[in-house]
Amino acid sequence: MAFDYDKYIRPGKLPHIWCPGCGHGIVMKGLIRAIDALGLEKNKTAIVSGIGCASRLPGYMDFCTLHTTHGRGVAFATGIKFARPEMQVICVGGDGDGVAIGGNHFIHACRRNIDMTYLIMNNNIYGMTGGQFSPTTPLGAKASTTPYGNPDPPFDIAKLAIGAGATFVARGTAYHANQIDKLLVEAIKHKGFSVVEILDSCPTTYGRRNKYRSVVEMMNNLKDVAVSVKAAENMSPEQLQGKVLTGVLYKESKPEYVAEYQKIIAAAQEAV
């Protein structure tokens, strides 16, 4: 029997705003499958976002959902998780939202290791505002604000997350649809701040400016650049040139913020 996505979609809230060929819908379906696999309770799950195309995702999902201000999703989500530790908190957004305007919140949430999952749909562009370059736009790429090619070096989101102290970091692509839910299941199960970056594509504002002739070509590009962590073990540096690692990139166990604060409450109450 086909998977019943409708069970998790709010009645009457589709169609979504995403353009034909956008990968965000693929990612949302992956998130739904992950939530289903984990059996998360709708009333005990908050899905939070910032601003941008990807940040419209919570509105379609039948959970406690919060569409906030640009880049601040993780900070709002921190308030929810810290106030109600029994809730499962998933934050979603795009590359500009997450690591440009939200960069400070991002690195500090990684450092704090608060138990939530941050799903970043990285399409290398500000789509909603019409295709300005983002902190993940490759050097030389064309955007509406880099008409002569991008001179501004990009972030590697996964490396940034690891460097900032995230305790679970994974990467997938919108092409590898069947891997998305598997990565998210692991991320949500992980106790601590987990980051899942899904490489995505924006045919409308990125593809047409950068000589991708079709959605299929953009999808094939995601397929071609991705190399699984496992496959990479047997590849030379030359073979890995221009490739992007996918799979679980980093995982460690560290004290989690909310659990640590519970100890503070217990100690303070004992002292009273």
Binding site: D62, C64, T68, R72, G79, I80, R84
Partner: protein, 378 residues
Amino acid sequence: MAKKIALLQGNEACAYGALYAGCSFFAGYPITPSTEVAEVMARELPKVGGKFIQMEDEIAAMAAVIGASLTGMKTLTATSGPGFSLKQENIGYACITEVPCVIINVMRGGPSTGMPTGPSQSDVMQAKWGTHGDHPAICIVPASVQELFTETVRAFNLSEKYRTPVTVMPDEIVGHMREKIEFPEPGDIPVINRTHPSVSPEEYKPYDTRFGDVPPLAAFGSEYRFHVTGLNKTADGFPTTRAEVVQMEEERQLRKIEENVDEIVTYEEYLLDDAEVAIVAFGSTARSARFAINEARKAGINAGLFRIITYWPFPDKQISALATKVKSIIVPEMNLGMTIHEVRRCAAGNAEVSGIFRVDGEPINPGQILDMIKEAGK
């Protein structure tokens, strides 16, 4: 039984007032001269099972406070000038989404870094106009340590009752002064909690105006689930650009405050019955004014004080009436002229209105005000 009495700093009194009101969540960022609020909350909240978090910046602190409030908690943040500017983005979010929360802004000099340790009263316009777009504003300007306690309780009550952020703004002098405070016993001051939905989860809408201009607010994590967005929205919380809905919703959000002005606006009148010269002041400046008025009375000038306690909504009706009774109104304030424009608007030419403005980091002293009263009383 004798009440518990203590010598307390104004900022500390804010924190204890918040705890009295049932605040169980604080998110903040260090900034002079408000940090003591955070320090007391960091120490006291875990004792009562509450949560304190120091966030990475002012914006995040405001965001966390709103997120936590949506789970049903009463939440507080505290800041000063530059931090208050940074918080404006998410204060606007709390306004349009109608999420209760209280912001303490201890006023220091500005603009920008200005004079971090100097007193000021120059954030009063920012409290109303600081975030973009039309939105309601409630702002309280206490003048003593005791009042910082009781007015912080009232701020929580107003915030919960009207589903709106409320700002409490002592100037640095009031925030940092130490005075005797008498702790109210539980029950002495009423504590108001937000209205929870009476309908089933299936029927619930977060902006359901069938229940009036302040619709009940459910909590995330309860049996109710709903959507919240900073976009203009319909009753069910989902985005809309439908002209008539947007217009109606924005008007309702202003109306829920405007139609309750008489309940929200508070002030104190001192020796105004026979006054020819009235001082309109607030915060520490009102304390100087009271001293000056007593001196003026000794010199035979009938002076009186109108002390603003609730700054927004502005006491329009009361100031208008005052202007028809007195010859002259003096507005001393630690800025270069903000309240005076509101007073002139309300006075509508019925009384002479003049000001004393000071932004040099020194308080406006009674002597300055007395000189002005004598001038006006001639």
